[in-house]
Each structure stands twice: as structure tokens, then as C-alpha cells.
């Protein structure tokens, strides 16, 4: 009798312990964002005095270093544009490589994969000067281009997925007189929902996560021109962390909201997306 209960209880206790470990930093993030002491509290886990003021400051009192509403707007704009462009690029390249046959295709594929291997951190400074030649530094447009222009190189997973779509489907469409363009838009794209979701999520997240490239490209020191990642990262620099750490925590939590919403809506597809290409290919 007792043995029957002990095992499941242990199993769930073990899971709970794991969850505890995984969530402790998040909990600390949350409670710190409610602290009245602005710096890093290194003595106690929980703040001594609680307040919602950090959120108020985040949203309604933009100052010379923190302008969260503007950051949020910028990141949102960049994220949405990147989503659209990157998704199109990935789908286009994947279709070309998977469903069409043309001379030099395999060489071009190997070349693209190798190209993607080059450490991006290194070519950053060169990208900056290319963008400067085009007059696109210091602008949201420039960042959108940087985040999405190279996205075509990330075709591998999506191509794997397209490889699994039976060629007979395309063949029959062709017999009915559809052009390649129509096959692409009417046959293949409707079938690749998980792939689209996967790409959309990844592309949307980039501008929310990247602080290195953004810091290089956005030279403006006016906080309203920054992205969320850049701005939040700036708040934990040595001179500011003592006064803004709690605001940073609050910001970090708020950023999680759009990302979580996206995740929850698309979670099912996301899992299929990650594995979709691999499972069958």
C-alpha cells in the first residue's frame, strides 16, 4: 500500500525540487523588482520594504537613462519587421534549395552553411562600416536590415521540412497548370505552418535579446532611440547599477510578457517546428 504511494510522491517531489532550482532566479528577479532599495540587495533574498514604484518609474517616469516605453516600441517595431522579412527569406531560400533543381545548387548550399559559421562578433565592425556607407547607422531601419538580411542562411531546418513534403503534391499542381510561384504560395506555404511559427518566433526574439550589435549600430545617446536589450543592459553598468537594478529587474519581467504570449500561442507549433524538419528528415 505505502509503496504504491511513495514512488509517485517521490517522483513529483523530485520534479518540484527541479522546478524550484529553475525558478529561484526568476523569483529573485520578481521580488527584487518590488524592492524599495534600488541597488542589488546582496544580504537578503527578499526585500525589506515592498513597492510597485519600480514599475511606475519604468512606464511613467522616463529619465535620462531609462525610457522603457520608447525602448519597447522600438523593439516591437524591429521585432515585427524582422519577423516578416526573415520568415519570407527563410521560406524563399528553403523552397529554392529543396524544391527546385538548378546548376550549382549543392555548392551554393555548402557555401551558405559555411558562411554561417563565421563568428558574427568579428564581422560586426565591418557590418557597421558597410551600413555607414549606405547611410543606415543609427536608425531602426539599419537594425532591421542587419537582423534580417542574413536570415536566408538559416534555411537548413526549414529545408529539411520542405524535403518531407511529398513531391507528388507539387507535381500534380504543376499538371494542373500552376506556376512555381503558385505552387510555392498555394501548396507549400500552407503546409509549413510549424516552420513559419518557428521562424517567426526566432526572428521576433532577436531584437529583444541582442545588445551587442544594437549597441554598436545605435550611436545615439538619447535613450528614446534605444532598444529594450540595449537599454536594460546599460542599466546594469557599473555607474548605474546601484540606482537602477530594481528597474532593470522590472523591465526584464515586462519584456517576458510579449515573448510568453507569443510562446503560449505558438507553443504547439514551435515544438513541431524544432523537430519537424528532423523527425521525418
Amino acid at each position: 500500500m505505502s509503496k504504491k504511494y511513495i514512488r509517485p510522491v517521490l517522483r513529483h517531489l523530485f520534479l518540484a525540487a527541479l522546478v524550484f532550482v529553475w525558478l529561484i532566479p526568476i523569483l529573485w528577479l520578481f521580488v527584487t523588482s518590488l524592492s524599495t532599495y534600488k541597488g542589488i540587495n546582496t544580504m537578503h533574498f527578499f526585500p525589506t520594504h515592498w513597492t510597485l514604484d519600480n514599475y511606475h518609474q519604468l512606464f511613467f517616469r522616463p529619465d535620462t537613462v531609462a525610457n522603457f516605453p520608447a525602448w519597447f516600441r522600438n523593439s516591437m517595431v524591429i521585432g515585427c519587421c524582422c519577423c516578416v522579412i526573415s520568415t519570407f527569406f527563410v521560406l524563399m531560400v528553403s523552397y529554392a534549395f529543396s524544391c527546385m533543381r538548378f546548376p550549382g545548387r549543392k555548392k551554393l548550399m555548402s557555401f551558405s552553411i559555411i558562411l554561417g559559421m563565421f563568428p558574427g562578433v568579428l564581422s560586426m565592425i565591418a557590418i557597421y562600416f558597410v551600413m555607414k556607407l549606405l547611410g543606415l547607422t543609427d536608425s531602426i531601419g539599419g537594425l532591421i536590415i542587419i537582423y534580417s538580411a542574413g536570415s536566408g542562411l538559416g534555411f537548413l531546418i526549414c529545408k529539411g521540412f520542405f524535403d518531407t513534403i511529398p513531391a507528388s503534391l507539387r507535381e500534380s499542381a504543376r499538371l494542373e497548370g500552376a506556376s512555381e510561384l503558385q505552387i510555392f504560395t498555394r501548396v507549400v506555404i500552407p503546409l509549413s505552418k510549424p516552420m513559419i511559427v518557428y521562424t517567426v518566433i526566432n526572428a521576433f526574439l532577436t531584437p529583444w535579446m541582442d545588445f551587442v550589435m544594437a549597441k554598436l549600430m545605435i550611436r545615439s545617446k538619447e535613450p528614446s532611440h534605444w532598444t529594450v536589450a540595449m537599454g536594460l543592459f546599460n542599466l546594469v553598468q557599473r555607474t548605474l547599477v546601484g540606482d537602477y537594478f530594481t528597474v532593470f529587474c522590472a523591465g526584464g519581467l515586462i519584456v517576458a510578457i510579449p515573448i510568453s504570449v507569443l510562446f503560449i500561442i505558438m507553443q504547439r507549433f514551435y515544438v513541431e517546428g524544432i523537430t519537424g524538419g528532423a523527425v521525418k528528415g
Binding site: 520534479l15 565592425i125 542574413g150
Partner: protein
């Protein structure tokens, strides 16, 4: 291969030999051959492209290409006129612009040459069709091929342009920088840098008391490999075990458990990493707690913490930091792996499992003999991608070890620290020390390592005919 090239040029030679006046005039004016055969719009477009090329080259890139051999000779000089507060600056050279625009210029010239051969052959093809009284496409029909047989051109042009802009040009530029002396003493626009051949590669493998790049490079390379290996496998195994554990039919509320782990993904990585970094700081909250419960004292007494320290150096001592970044990476990476492993586990062919169960195999046996091989088979290629992604895993190391101070003088002399990966090291070199030449050399090494790794792993995927198998 050589046969193909020979054929190609034979075709070109034939076109020149046998071409009529339209074909021959296209050698000079690219559009002529099309216009002569009635493809007016196409002819005009091709002609415009040619004019654009020439205009671009002579109006813009030629001046830079000519200076490529020296990377500029005129250094900036300025004079300030105190009477008018006006400043005059001489017409100075900017090595960086010369190199970058020179590369772009050369690229365009190569493209022009290719276009020249291609165009001549194509125009000759038109001539032959005309002679044989075959159908010649109208412009509308040409456009139609772009969404049919030649749809791939339409599909690849825009993404290709993007890649050219943010990948190819910058990469070519950085590779070239490895052969120059671009460092903090030769910073454009004020100063010029120039070619130095293989000098920097020699430096990378030198070890003396002050030049310690060789010393640091070997150690950081080894650690990068260990890190990539450990980080990949711990998160991979962890993710699968966790997914297996949650997906087990004996676990209640599977969705809830999964969502709890996924929460950590939703918060941007740099936020959680910075936060965890602060928590494990020398005077961070974890250390406060450890010293309160006496753990610090205990570790000291068994010699794991140096006698001179009053805290546990989680992220500030070699050894400690190495282990901690791997542990923290597990924390970061396992939820991701768990998600994808969940998908894979759900897709395991049920009949196999059932058959095994009927044969009386235990759960553990099933996991070892069926589940793992299946998962490994499917995720094999992506494991190698993950390995390479970990070689270049900038965020984790950079954000966690930003306060790390090395106590090894040999690392310090080459601006490195023990837990650095090659990628963070080269970032530090460019960002804080303007040492672009050495960063580029290191970057090329990282690139070679990653590229070779990828080639080996994807050789099967690309070369084999596997893709056709499924269609």
C-alpha cells in the same frame, strides 16, 4: 571540373568567332545582342546594368581599388585657424574605407567579368535560335520564366543580396584585416594601416614573457573545446531526461510542469544571465547565504576555497568559474532541449515500443535500446550544430564573467582570461583594445574549426541523395 571550364570558354570563343554583328557588338555593349533580336526591353535593362557597373566602378570604387596595394599613403593633417575658428583638413586617405570599398569594387569587377562571358554566350545562343528560325522569347515570356523554371533566381536574389551585404563583404574585410597591422596604434581615420603579411599569424603562435598570444591561444582553444563539448552534452542529456521524466505516464499535470520550465525561456537570456551572474558574485546573495550557513567556512577547511578569500569565488577563479559556467549553462539550456526532446519523444513509433513491452523489456531497457538510439539518430546532425553554436556561445561566457580578473600574468598580457572562449576573447580584443589584427587572426581560426566541423557533419546531409528519399 576543368572539362566544364574548358567547355565554357570554348563556347565563348565560338561565340566570338561565329557571332554576327549583333553578337559581336554585345562584346562592347551588352544590350545590343538582345535589341538586335527584338528583345528590346531586355536589351535596355541589360545595357543599363552595364552602364551601372561602369558608373559604379569609375565613379566610386576605382579610386579605392587603386590604393589597395598600400592601403593609403596620405595621413590626415589638420590646421586650425585661430582667427576664424575654422579648420582645414587635407585630403587624407582612410585605410579602412580603402580596404572595404576596394573589396566591394573587386567583387563588382569579378561580377562584371562573369556577366561579360555569360552575356556573350547567351547572345550567341539567341543568334543560333534566330538562324534556326526558332522562337525567341518576348519580354513577357522572359518574365514568365522567372516564376517558373527560373523561379529560384527570383527566390534567391533578395536573400542573396542581404547575405552579400551583411555576411560576405564584412567577412572578406575581416579576413583581409588579419594580414594588416590594424590595431590601436594604426586606427583610421587619423592613422593609416597597411599590409604586414603573415606577421599576425606568427604572433599568435609566439610565446615570450610579454607576447603571450601563443600561451593564451592554446589554453583558450582547449577550454573552448571542453566547454563546447560539455555544454552540448549536458544540456542534451539533461533535456532528454527531463522530457522523458515529465512525459512519463506516471507524472500528473504534464503541461503544468513543462510550462514552469518554459518560463525561464521567456525572460531574455541576457537578463537572466546578468541576474544569475550578480547572484553568484563575490559578494552576491548566494555568497551571503553560504557564509551564513557556514558553507564558505567548510569549503575553506577542505581547501576548495583559497585561504585568502572570504567568499566562494563562484565566477572569479579558474576552476570554479569553469564549472559554474557549465552548470549555469545547463540551467539556461535544458528547458530548450526539453521542449524539442518532447517533440521527438512524442513521435517515437509506438509499435516499436509496444512490441518491446510485449517482449517483456523493462522501462530502462526500452529507454536504452529504443528511445536513446532513436533520439540520437534524429538529433545527430543538430547536435553538431549545437556544438558549433556553443563554440561561438558569446552570451553565457561574456555576461557571466564580466567581473573576472585573471591572476595569471600570461593571460593578462594578451588581454585574455581563463574562462574566455575564443569568441569572447576576440570580442574583448576588438571592443576594448582595438586590436583588430589579432582578433581577425583568432576569428579565422574559429571559422576554420567550425567550418571543418560542419563540413564533416553535413557532408552526408548535402552530398547523399537523402533528400530525394522522402519526396
Amino acid at each position: 571540373m576543368t572539362g566544364k571550364i574548358k567547355n565554357y570558354f570554348a563556347g565563348f570563343a565560338e561565340a566570338v568567332r561565329k557571332g554576327d554583328r549583333w553578337t559581336r557588338s554585345s562584346l562592347l555593349l551588352f544590350g545590343a545582342g538582345y535589341i538586335g533580336r527584338g528583345q528590346i526591353i531586355r536589351g535596355i535593362l541589360v545595357q543599363l546594368i552595364q552602364i551601372g557597373f561602369i558608373w559604379f566602378t569609375f565613379g566610386f570604387s576605382a579610386q579605392y581599388m587603386m590604393q589597395l596595394p598600400t592601403l593609403g599613403t596620405v595621413q590626415r593633417e589638420e590646421t586650425f585657424d585661430p582667427a576664424t575658428l575654422a579648420k582645414t583638413v587635407n585630403d587624407y586617405d582612410n585605410s579602412l574605407l580603402i580596404l572595404l570599398c576596394g573589396i566591394i569594387g573587386i567583387f563588382f569587377i569579378l561580377a562584371y567579368i562573369l556577366l561579360f562571358f555569360q552575356n556573350t554566350r547567351r547572345v550567341y545562343g539567341l543568334q543560333k535560335r534566330a538562324e534556326a528560325k526558332e522562337h525567341i522569347n518576348s519580354f513577357r515570356e522572359d518574365l514568365h520564366t522567372l516564376i517558373n523554371e527560373k523561379f529560384y533566381l527570383t527566390l534567391l536574389s533578395l536573400p542573396g543580396l542581404g547575405v552579400l551585404l551583411v555576411n560576405i563583404f564584412p567577412i572578406l574585410f575581416m579576413i583581409c584585416v588579419a594580414f594588416t597591422n590594424y590595431d590601436k596604434r594604426h586606427q583610421p581615420p587619423t592613422y593609416l594601416f597597411t599590409w604586414v603579411g603573415l606577421e599576425n599569424f606568427k604572433t599568435l603562435f609566439t610565446s615570450s614573457q610579454t607576447v603571450t598570444f601563443g600561451y593564451a591561444f592554446i589554453r583558450i582553444l582547449v577550454w573552448t573545446m571542453i566547454w563546447a563539448f560539455a555544454a552540448t552534452f549536458t544540456t542534451f542529456i539533461g533535456g532528454i531526461l527531463l522530457a522523458k521524466f515529465i512525459n512519463d505516464r506516471r507524472t500528473r499535470c504534464q503541461k503544468l510542469w513543462r510550462s514552469l520550465f518554459v518560463i525561464t525561456i521567456a525572460i531574455p537570456q541576457f537578463v537572466t544571465l546578468l541576474l544569475v551572474g550578480k547572484m553568484f558574485g563575490d559578494y552576491g546573495i548566494v555568497n551571503s547565504i553560504c557564509s551564513k550557513i557556514g558553507l564558505t567556512g567548510f569549503l575553506k577547511s577542505i581547501g576548495l576555497v583559497g585561504a585568502g578569500l572570504s567568499y566562494i569565488p563562484f565566477l572569479s577563479k579558474p576552476g570554479w568559474a569553469h564549472v559554474m559556467v557549465i552548470l549555469i549553462n545547463i540551467w539556461v539550456g535544458v528547458p530548450f532541449q526539453m521542449l524539442s526532446a518532447t517533440g521527438i519523444l512524442m513521435n517515437i513509433p509506438n509499435d516499436q515500443l509496444e512490441a518491446a513491452r510485449i517482449d517483456g523489456a523493462s522501462e530502462r531497457q526500452i529507454f536504452r535500446k529504443i528511445t536513446m538510439p532513436y533520439v540520437l539518430f534524429i538529433t545527430g546532425p543538430s547536435l553538431i550544430t549545437a556544438f558549433i553554436a556553443n563554440i561561438n556561445n558569446f552570451n553565457v561566457i561574456y555576461l557571466l564573467t564580466s567581473d573576472y580578473v585573471s591572476t595569471n600574468m600570461k593571460f593578462a598580457n594578451s588581454n585574455a582570461k581563463e574562462p574566455d572562449l575564443l569568441i569572447t576573447w576576440l570580442f574583448n580584443l576588438t571592443n576594448n583594445h582595438s586590436n583588430f589584427k589579432m582578433a581577425s587572426v583568432i576569428g579565422i581560426c574559429v571559422f576554420l574549426i567550425s567550418a571543418i566541423g560542419t563540413l564533416i557533419s553535413f557532408a552526408r546531409l548535402i552530398k547523399g541523395n537523402r533528400e530525394e528519399d522522402f519526396q
